[in-house]
């Protein structure tokens, strides 16, 4: 089974990188782009067949390492 983890900045946390990306897109002729938020995508290969167990384990991974919950949120998607 694969787990796909998205790590994103919490609302209200300044994202200067997202801002810079937004400015660049505007300059490149995409004026329709407003606020941009940048995050991380992490794909994990898991030796686990039980979805409930897998979800619980990946949650723990997120809390311990993959996300810094002071500033980041995470979401988990299980595939296969």
């Amino acid at each position: 089974m694969k787990a796909r983890v998205h790590v994103t900045l919490k609302n209200g946390v300044l994202d200067p990188q997202g801002k810079a990306i937004g400015h660049s897109l505007n300059r490149l002729g995409f004026p329709e782009v407003g606020d941009v938020r940048q995050g991380k995508f992490i794909e994990l290969e898991l030796a686990e067949t039980d979805k409930v167990k897998a979800k619980a384990r990946v949650e723990e991974m997120c809390r311990k390492l993959l996300a810094n919950t002071v500033i980041e949120n995470y979401s988990i998607e299980l595939v296969g």
């Binding site: 946390v13 300044l14 200067p16 990188q17 810079a20 311990k64 390492l65 810094n68 002071v70 500033i71």
Partner: protein
């Protein structure tokens, strides 16, 4: 004062801080490799600057989970003083020894410059050789030094006097974010834990201990620790 300096793959200021400690104590600190789960009893643990684990995932995130940090967390809980400088500050926050986190500089650039710091308190084992309100000049060198904590945490830090240093202008002023090199909340350059036995700061006091290298304002930090811990 017996000190240990941790070394991670990618640390690069461990030699500088070891020299600063040797300068004030006359003895070389013990260098401790990140894979070592145990090391000799010491009076002070220093987590030095650098780019531990290449800053992968988040600055300090990998190092915070290393075997040596598990031991450091245990000792910090028993009251052994811990000093985290630059990447070391990022590591100790990721390890949960200090509140908040260090984010990318607001202007997205690496900043390498001398900055002015206002010492916020002399009431700690790290800052007892300074006066509260004193302005000192030390260098910074980082891309992720933008201190952030939620509003409740910020209030707690202020109320309990856990802010050690703030970036400021040459006159000590912090109005309009004066002297702030990275966008840090409330100009914060360094914070204590609630018992003031852990200090994390982005600037490099270890690089301001000899006149030949542009100033000696950082030396009092090391002298203060020697006085408190010997």
């Amino acid at each position: 004062m017996k000190a240990a300096v941790l070394v991670f793959p990618g640390s690069n200021r461990e030699g500088d801080v070891a020299q600063a400690i040797e300068l004030v104590t006359g003895r070389r600190p013990q260098m401790v490799w990140h894979g070592d789960g145990d090391f000799e009893k010491v009076d002070l643990i220093v987590v030095p600057g650098g780019f531990s684990y290449g800053d992968y995932l988040r600055c300090g995130a990998m190092a915070a989970q290393s075997p040596v940090m598990a031991e450091v967390k245990k000792r910090a809980a028993q009251g052994v003083p811990v000093l985290g400088i630059c990447n070391g500050f990022q590591i100790v926050t990721e390890a949960g020894l200090l509140p908040g986190t260090l984010m990318r500089n607001s202007h997205l650039k690496f900043v390498c410059a001398d900055v002015h710091l206002r010492v916020e308190t002399s009431q700690s084992l790290f800052t007892n050789r300074y006066q509260a309100g004193q302005v000192i000049k030390v260098p910074v060198a980082h891309a992720e030094g933008n201190y952030f904590a939620d509003a409740d945490t910020m209030k707690r830090l202020e109320d309990r006097g856990q802010i050690a240093f703030r970036y400021c202008g040459p006159d000590g002023s912090i109005i309009d974010g004066r002297g702030n090199p990275n966008g840090s909340s409330s100009n914060i350059a360094g914070v204590f834990n609630d018992t003031k036995t852990v200090l994390g700061l982005m600037p490099h006091p270890e690089n301001a201990v000899e006149p030949m290298f542009g100033g000696t304002d950082g030396k009092a930090l090391f002298e203060g620790m020697v006085e408190a811990l010997s």
